[in-house]
Amino acid sequence: MTDTVAESIQELDQAQVLRTAAGSRRRRYLAVVLGWLVFIGLWWLLSLWVGSEARLPSPGRVFQEIVIILQGDFWTQFWASIVRVVAGFLAAVLIGTPVGFFMGRSKYWGNFLQSPVIVAGSIPGLTYAVMAFVVFGISFWGPVLAVGLIAMPYVAINVAEGVRGVDRRLVEMSTAYGRNERQVFRHVTVPSVLPFVFAGVRLSFSLAWKVGTLTEVFGSSKGIGFQIRRNYQLFNMPAVIAWVLLFVLFMLLVERFILVRLERRLFRWRQWERDA
């Protein structure tokens, strides 16, 4: 009897908790939507006050432009940028991983490479963009070089951290059970360092995209950066804002739906480790 009373009270409590949780979630979504409405409303009022499409077009006008772009060459331009940035990240991983490996493995190389990597990490993006333009002119390879250079220090620092963090006991145990160096490398070092390679890419993701598009501003005939610059030179404000908004939306979606999920999957084994 007392048990059932306790249970029913518990059920009641749970139902209430669920209801309030759902309520607060609904309220939060409402506030987020309201936030967007306030943002767009303020923008609209400001555009009315400015009263010039060339200076600040209304949200509706920009939306029209977005629809035009989506029906037109949205995918061609985005695809061009995506291919370059991905190629740049590949280059950064290919160079940054061995560099980070050296840094993590040996104290001497750690000291040797420390300052160069830190300085490389604080160089303003403008430098890379102009350098890529000087080296390659208007070409596919400019943004690849810039993205590679900007992401490389991040990959290196993270891989070094990962190499330092490889579990000594695992290595010792593997050696004790007669595994050779190659096997230890393949089955202990690589799996524990791999997530750190990804972390390097993840941390430099938005930075590298920004520098990639900046490089397209300087030396490209395609891509998002080139489109923003072309419309800037044509003084086509609605199109500039439309391309920028598409870029921002794209970045936020990729971060939220692809990178966060990938991260969870790659680090899942560590969660298990912690749970055990």
């Binding site: 506030a31 987020v32 160069p116 604080s122 403008l126 430098t127 923003i228 921002v248």
Partner: protein, 290 residues
């Protein structure tokens, strides 16, 4: 992963003071610098259009002392640097104060967070050159364009960090101090300020890195004076030694300000924090987008 499983050769350890020094951390860093400059010099032999280290130093000497670059073009280092610093500080001030205000708001109130968080994220994602373009289209080639570029690019970084700091104040401590009737001003001084100060400082550091990039871009695209403008001036004149010289100037500036001054200040001021928290800020810092 193309790394071969080789043992990395530690530098050999023969006797001798010089060799010993070469293996020390400082020795390794000096070796790295020498190797870098040597590689740069070698590069000029392969690609003659690349200005060598000596040429660049000569250029910087003339530029700083105000000597003649040939003809009537004279060195103008301090004029441009001073103008950029003025604009940079003003923009940083605006962005910082705005970010502080919005950050506290987001951190304190759930409603403000829901309302403003996405807007701040959108601003965070916007590349700095976009602000350089937009401000130029709004204000033309004026001083407002670079100042506002700095303000717009720094604002979201400060806001996000401050909000994080405000939310990091442990509610248990707050309840406890209220329960033990610790006064409001005492709570503010001993609980809130120490909890938030580290985040504000971290936010300021991001803001300085990001804003510096922003002002260079803005001056490059639409300046009539300033570091970015002068860099472009030499670039357009096809005098690459001037371009490289100024690039070195603005890199050295940001490395000295961020790594040498602010990093040390931060370590000294927040040495009481436990190491994990310091690491956390260090890692967060790498999420900086320029």
């Amino acid at each position: 992963m193309t790394v071969a499983p080789v043992a990395i050769p530690e530098a050999p350890a023969p006797p001798g003071r010089i060799r010993h020094w070469l293996r020390s951390p400082v020795g390794a860093q000096v070796t790295a610098a020498v190797v870098f400059i040597g590689a740069w010099q070698l590069l000029t032999l392969i690609a003659p259009r690349v200005p060598g280290p000596i040429e660049v130093v000569q250029f910087l000497y003339i530029e700083i002392t105000g000597g003649s670059h040939g003809g009537i073009v004279r060195g103008q280092f301090f004029q441009h640097f001073a103008i950029t610093l003025q604009r940079f500080s003003l923009g940083l001030l605006i962005g910082f104060v705005g970010g502080l205000f919005v950050g506290v708001l987001i951190g304190v109130s759930g409603l403000a967070r829901a309302l403003l968080n996405d807007t701040v994220l959108v601003l965070l994602t916007m590349p700095a050159f976009v602000w350089a373009f937009l401000t130029t289209m709004w204000f033309g080639i004026t001083w407002q364009a670079p100042v506002l570029t700095v303000a717009f690019t720094t604002f979201p970084f400060v806001a996000i960090n401050v909000a994080q700091g405000v939310r990091a104040i442990t509610p248990e401590l707050k309840h406890m101090s209220t329960a033990f009737e610790v006064g409001r001003s005492k709570q503010f001084r001993h609980l809130i300020v120490p909890a938030v100060a580290g985040y504000i400082f971290a936010g300021l550091r991001f803001a300085i890195i990001v804003g510096w990039n922003g002002i260079l871009l803005s001056e490059w695209f639409s300046g009539q004076a300033g570091v970015g403008f002068r860099t472009r001036y030499w670039f357009d004149a096809n005098r690459y030694r001037g371009f490289v010289g100024w690039v070195i100037v603005f890199i050295v500036f940001i490395v000295v300000v961020d790594r040498v001054i602010l990093n040390r200040l931060q370590k000294r001021a927040f040495h009481w924090r436990d190491a994990s928290e310091a690491d956390f800020i260090e890692i967060e810092e790498r999420q900086v987008g320029l």
